[in-house]
């Protein structure tokens, strides 16, 4: 056993030699974006191959997590419980550059930073999350978001929406608008509607929630709709695309949302606008005409710019939804593949899992899961696997899934931020 272990160590070292020392010294990996994808990628690369020089570029000293931010709206959590610093990542040997990337030169393999520095890389990982398509809904721009918050990047926007809900009179009308696919967190708008209703039912029970949707179907739909009927009868009205759900313009001054069929005056309006990959992706040349980033399904290398890997919400990941679980799982696959590629070896075909919980009340959780592998150039559902929670819950399953949800949150944030 001892000799075998020794032998394996030697072969591993031999195999990794090119990665450790390139002509210029240590091979360099730069990661743009310290969210669930980027932070995980940076620390996993460093853990797998400590000899690599790993820099994480992220302007915010504190990351505010979107997962569980809907619970902040419902007064089930404080915003501070959503926040994570980068000390654990610094402690793991990753260099954190607290600034944003302003330009990527894929030919010169450099990243220009807002603080004036320039980083060279052998491999670049980008996980910049999303940006909003301001103006896609006429009237909805950055200024409008101060009146009609999106709260789709957690932080000040979450706190603003919570304050507006608290200031609303009992009997008020909350209007939400959900975008067409693809967008960050497919079940997110419906979890939000549920948890706002949960809070309204306790504090402002005469109020109503109108959910205007640019789609005719949504994630875990029957589970959500059954849950709404059971928990909040008559409180949530969902308007699908075919019944005039698409919001065609908004007026922030009067909190009015207009659809093809009607005009709705809101007491509180939450507009979740259409999205695209974080702006740096387009600048780097890794986003296509859709605004999202095509990648191959093994190491998630851009099909537009070699040497740049794109993860998480920004990437087109075949059948995988845009979730924190997925971004974290993709980051670990990408990190292992990068270490192989830098060693001149071929990465193995991955299998990637996604699991997303949604809460309909404090003690009522549902889930969706999927297993994905590369097939015909993209990540594809493994047939027969995955799916949603059963429609009929036995033995306290909804309560159990709510507990799993909070355990998942503690685990993934510990793995990502340390």
């Amino acid at each position: 056993m001892a000799t075998r272990r020794h032998f394996l160590k030697l072969t591993a070292a031999a195999g990794l030699a090119p990665a450790v020392v390139s002509a210029q010294g240590k091979a360099r990996v730069v990661v743009i974006g310290g969210g669930f994808g980027g932070a995980t990628a940076a620390r996993t690369v460093k853990a797998l191959q400590p000899a690599l020089d790993v820099t994480l570029v992220e302007p915010n000293p504190v990351y505010t997590s979107c997962p569980f931010s809907n619970s902040v709206l419902a007064d089930l959590r404080e915003i501070g419980q959503q926040q994570f610093r980068y000390d654990g990542i610094k402690g793991s040997g990753v260099t954190v550059a607290e600034t944003s990337a302003t330009a990527v030169d894929a030919d010169a393999k450099t990243v220009t930073l807002a603080d004036g520095n320039k980083l060279s890389y052998d491999r670049l990982v980008m996980s910049p999350g999303i940006d909003f398509n301001w103006g896609a809904i006429p009237g909805y721009d950055e200024a409008a978001a101060q009146k009609m918050p999106h709260a789709w990047k957690a932080g000040a926007q979450t706190v603003l929406l919570r304050r507006q809900l608290q200031a609303m009179d009992d009997g008020g009308l909350v209007v939400m608008s959900a975008p067409a696919n693809p967008f960050r967190c497919p079940p997110g708008p419906y979890e939000r509607a549920s948890l706002i209703a949960y809070w309204l039912a306790i504090w402002k029970p005469k109020s109503k929630l109108l959910l205007l949707d640019s789609k005719d179907a949504f994630s875990k739909q029957r589970l959500f709709q059954n849950g709404w009927a059971e928990l909040y009868p008559g409180m949530i009205e969902w308007v699908p695309l075919s019944q005039g759900g698409k919001v065609t313009s908004v007026d922030p001054a009067t909190l009015t949302l207009t659809t093809e069929f009607a005009t709705h005056k809101a007491s509180v309006a939450n507009v979740i606008p259409p999205q695209r990959a974080g702006a740096i992706a387009a600048q780097a040349g890794v986003a296509d005409r859709t605004g999202w980033c095509p990648v191959e399904p093994v190491a998630f290398e851009s099909t537009l710019q070699p040497g740049i890997h794109v993860l998480g919400d920004a990437a087109i990941m075949g059948g995988m939804p845009k979730s924190a679980f997925a971004a974290n799982a993709q980051a670990k696959v990408c990190a292992a593949a990068l270490v192989k590629l830098l060693a001149g070896e071929k990465p193995q075909d991955p299998i990637v899992i996604n699991t997303c919980y949604s809460l309909l009340a404090a003690d009522y959780g549902i889930s969706i899961a999927g297993v994905y592998r590369p097939d015909k150039g993209q990540l594809t559902d493994v047939p027969g696997a995955g799916g949603v929670s059963p429609l009929v819950a036995v033995g306290g399953l909804r309560g159990q899934e709510a507990l799993y949800a909070s355990s998942w949150f503690r685990t993934i944030t510990a793995e990502t931020f340390g």
Binding site: R4, R5, L8, A12, A47, L48, Q49, F325, N328, A329, K332, V333, A336, V339, K340, Q348, D349, P350, I351, V352, I353, T355, S367, A369, G370, V371, R373, V382, G384, A385, G386, G387, S389, G395, L397, Q400, E401, L403, Y404, S407, W408, R410, T411, I412, A414, E415
Partner: protein, 97 residues
């Protein structure tokens, strides 16, 4: 049935050896999103690092067949065949508890 699994698994573990994390078998790295590599306070999700490979394989098979009721694990276990499941189990068994 449990005993019959053991010889196959024992040789698997030897083959896997003290694998570097980079060589985790396909699928294994996703598991730690819920099953923390180090124990996390206050988690109701079972800790699997350092568990016996045979036990992990048995659970995964029973989740897959539905013999053991589960929430998400049945849906996830169906994405892995026997060989893939055994490789993942052996890898977790070899991790520090």
């Amino acid at each position: 049935m449990h005993r019959a699994l053991l010889p196959g698994l024992a040789s698997m573990i030897l083959l896997a050896g003290p694998a570097t994390a980079a060589d985790a078998p396909p699928g294994a790295s996703s598991c730690t999103g819920c099953h923390a590599p180090k124990k996390v306070a206050d988690s109701v999700i079972p800790h699997i690092a350092g568990r016996k490979a045979a036990d992990i394989v048995t659970f995964m098979r029973e989740y897959r067949s539905g013999a053991w009721p589960s929430s998400v694990m049945g849906r996830i276990a169906k994405g892995f065949d026997d060989a893939q499941t055994e490789a993942i189990a052996a890898w977790f068994a070899a991790q520090p508890e």
